[in-house]
């Protein structure tokens, strides 16, 4: 009685008496005669993994080969292999070209990979824990907190530089650190405010608390900027985001945060799928949605704060990359999170390439590049995908 015919609209001939005598076991034989195509549950397919790795490789080679001094991509590739432990190859690049690759461009490309991967995975994670497609990593006040922190650091540094005997001005090196603290303070405030709702706390309360904290901190930042107009340019340039060329220092600073937080978020990928049925049903399935949300918000915020503190506020990556992956490769977080790490890294490394080459010798803020090229691309994906 639950045979394939049931999909058709009820025919007048389908009457109660016929149903009441239908054998109860009628459910069984149907699938036996039907050719059944084996369907596998959502998982990361090899071809998508290969595509992600391919994107990273292309972004790295392009990022290393292109610039004021054009290098031979083949040589760059061999030079990269040569860097691997236990591999000794001759790239054919001159000593100065090798230095450009390993000392100038490689750290910047690596920074792009790390920042992009962290922001994209954190964005996907936020979308999962809040069951909200509009969630991005800056949702809980991170952007405003980091922005205020950086502003305070820059304004403070400026004021300090005016003192007699101080050695001139310039963006103080501790800006990332203060921005990091600001971001964490902001998220903590949001969570504390959201938790004030008591046990009835819902994701929506947390999001609204994030809105309030963002407004509050942004007001503080705007006030400081107006008060110290001479720092506006510097603060603005920080907010628009850029990948600095500070050598390996920033990369090594970010590396542990990125690796650990991305690792934890990807580890929770199946739990995010469970949470997609809502807290009540997830609980009845034996999961701990609220605990998972707390862990993931903490971890995603930590990773985002670390990324933001070295790169500034690079927008759009945290929204566009996970959604693009979702539209192309599948809606399970088991697919979205790992692929977001790869494509997010590649996307940002390429965006940075654009930022420093399109109008060379001037640099475009990387946030402008991500939005300017990312938005139209995303629209195309949105229009052509069958998943929305």
């Amino acid at each position: 009685m639950t045979g394939p015919g049931r999909k058709a609209p009820a025919t007048p001939g389908r009457k109660a008496p016929a149903k009441s005598v239908a054998p109860i076991g009628a459910v069984e034989p149907v699938h036996a005669v039907e050719p059944v195509v084996a369907v596998e549950p959502a998982r990361l397919r090899v071809r998508w993994l290969a595509a992600g790795v391919g994107a990273v490789v292309v972004a790295v080679i392009a990022g290393l080969a292109l610039g004021p001094v054009g290098l031979n991509p083949g040589g760059v590739f061999i030079e990269l292999l040569d860097l691997l432990p236990g591999v000794h190859l001759h790239s054919g690049l001159s000593a100065s070209e090798q230095a450009i690759v390993t000392q100038l461009r490689l750290p910047r490309v690596c920074l792009g990979l790390l920042v992009g991967a962290t922001l994209a995975v954190a964005g996907g994670t936020y979308q999962g824990v809040f069951r909200n497609p509009l969630a991005d990593p800056y949702l809980l006040g991170i952007a405003a907190g980091a922005g205020l922190g950086a502003t305070i650091a820059i304004v403070g540094g400026h004021a300090f530089a005016q003192l007699p005997g101080a050695g001139g001005s310039g963006t103080p090196i501790y800006v990332p650190f203060v921005a990091f603290i600001g971001a964490l303070v902001a998220v903590t405030m949001t969570y504390a405010l959201g938790a004030a709702g008591g046990t009835a706390r819902t994701p929506a309360v947390l999001l609204l608390a994030g809105v309030a904290v963002t407004a509050f901190l942004t007001a503080g930042q705007t006030y400081l900027q107006q008060r110290y107009v001479e720092t506006i340019r510097e603060v603005y340039s920080w907010i628009m985001g850029r990948l600095t060329t500070a050598g390996w220092h920033d990369v090594l600073l970010l590396l542990p945060f990125a690796v650990i937080t991305i690792g934890v978020m990807i580890g929770y990928r199946r739990q995010l799928d469970v949470m997609s049925v809502g807290d009540a049903e997830a609980e009845s399935l034996g999961a701990h949605p609220r605990r998972t949300r707390l862990v993931l918000v903490v971890v995603a915020s930590l990773g985002t704060a670390a990324a933001v503190s070295v790169s500034g506020l690079i927008g759009f990556v945290g929204i566009i990359v996970p959604h693009t992956v979702r539209l192309m490769a599948g809606t399970s977080y088991r697919v979205i999170l790992p692929l977001s790490a790869l494509f997010g890294g590649a996307f940002l490394a390429l965006a940075d390439l654009g930022a420093r080459t399109l109008t060379a010798p001037d640099e475009i803020p990387i946030g402008v590049v991500t939005a300017f090229f990312g938005a139209p691309f995303f629209i195309v994906i949105l229009r052509t995908s069958r998943r929305l």
Binding site: R6, V277, G286
Partner: protein, 268 residues
């Protein structure tokens, strides 16, 4: 108030004693006693706001309560969440349909209590899912998105996820409220078949009293947050009880499968 008449059954799947639930400062249910024997089908009826769904959610371990609830002799309060989920599965009244999720992935969620938090499903989990899909004639839908299914097909998928939990007690909150009568019968017959074949214990809430009476072995009538009548459908579905607790004017007709409840106009 009215402990089960059938207390001679030695094993209880579910024993509820003097249970009360307060939500946002309002007492929703209080003093509820309930016994459900292993393999039994118990249906809870009652007017809107009587506390049926709350009782179901409480038994499912989702709400704090006073009093005691035991599942197969173990206190619900002392159970770990995963252990409880292996014992009790729920189908919510209006389950969330995650956008874009395929049927097979949705049913696989039912294996959550068997999969360590940060691990992936095992071969055994996939086999369990495949088995459930086959039993519910859902294999051909396995790759389809949940949203693309009709109401009746969806209800079967919701049921499949609950069955994938391998639980012994199935809690159904208004399992047929969104379905036409043909599909209502499909779903209820299916549940009854699973109950008889697999030794499932079924606790359901239902609004359609005639259908409720046809499938339930025992019924409980709730009103004002507590149990006001319990017994066989013939005991509970009486004109007096329904008139008093539903403020409804009905005629109860003796059908072959049980009493049939027909609403009649109050004045004409």
């Amino acid at each position: 108030m009215l402990p089960a008449e059938r207390s001679e059954t030695n094993t209880h799947a579910l024993a509820v004693r003097d249970v009360g639930v307060v939500l946002d400062g309002t007492e929703i249910i209080n003093g509820v006693d309930l016994d459900v024997a292993v393999g039994e089908w118990l249906t809870i009826i009652g007017p809107n706001g009587a506390g049926k769904s709350t009782l179901l959610r409480t038994v499912g371990g989702l709400l704090d309560f006073t009093g005691s609830i035991e599942l197969f002799g173990t206190a619900l309060r002392r159970m770990r969440r995963r252990d409880r989920a292996r014992l009790v599965a729920s189908v919510a009244q209006d389950p969330v349909v995650p956008p874009g999720m395929a049927v097979i992935d949705y049913v696989l969620l039912g294996r959550t209590p068997y999969i360590p938090a940060l691990a992936s499903e095992s071969r055994a989990d996939l086999e369990a899912v495949d088995d459930v899909l086959a039993r519910l004639d859902l294999r051909r839908f396995a790759g389809r998105r949940l949203e693309s299914l009709s109401g009746g097909e969806r209800q079967r998928v919701f049921l499949a996820r609950a069955l994938a939990q391998g639980a012994k007690v199935l809690l159904l909150d208004e399992p047929t409220s969104a379905l036409d009568i043909g599909h209502q019968q499909d779903v209820l017959e299916l549940v009854d078949k699973l109950r008889r074949d697999g030794g499932l214990t079924v606790v359901a809430t239902m609004h359609d009293l005639s259908i409720a009476g046809e499938y339930a072995e025992r019924m409980v009538l709730m009103a004002g947050g507590t149990v006001v009548a319990a017994g066989t459908p013939r005991d509970v579905l009486t004109q007096e009880l329904l008139a008093r607790h539903y403020q409804a004017q009905v005629r109860v007709i003796d059908g072959e499968q049980g009493p049939l409840v027909v609403p009649v106009r109050r004045s004409r």
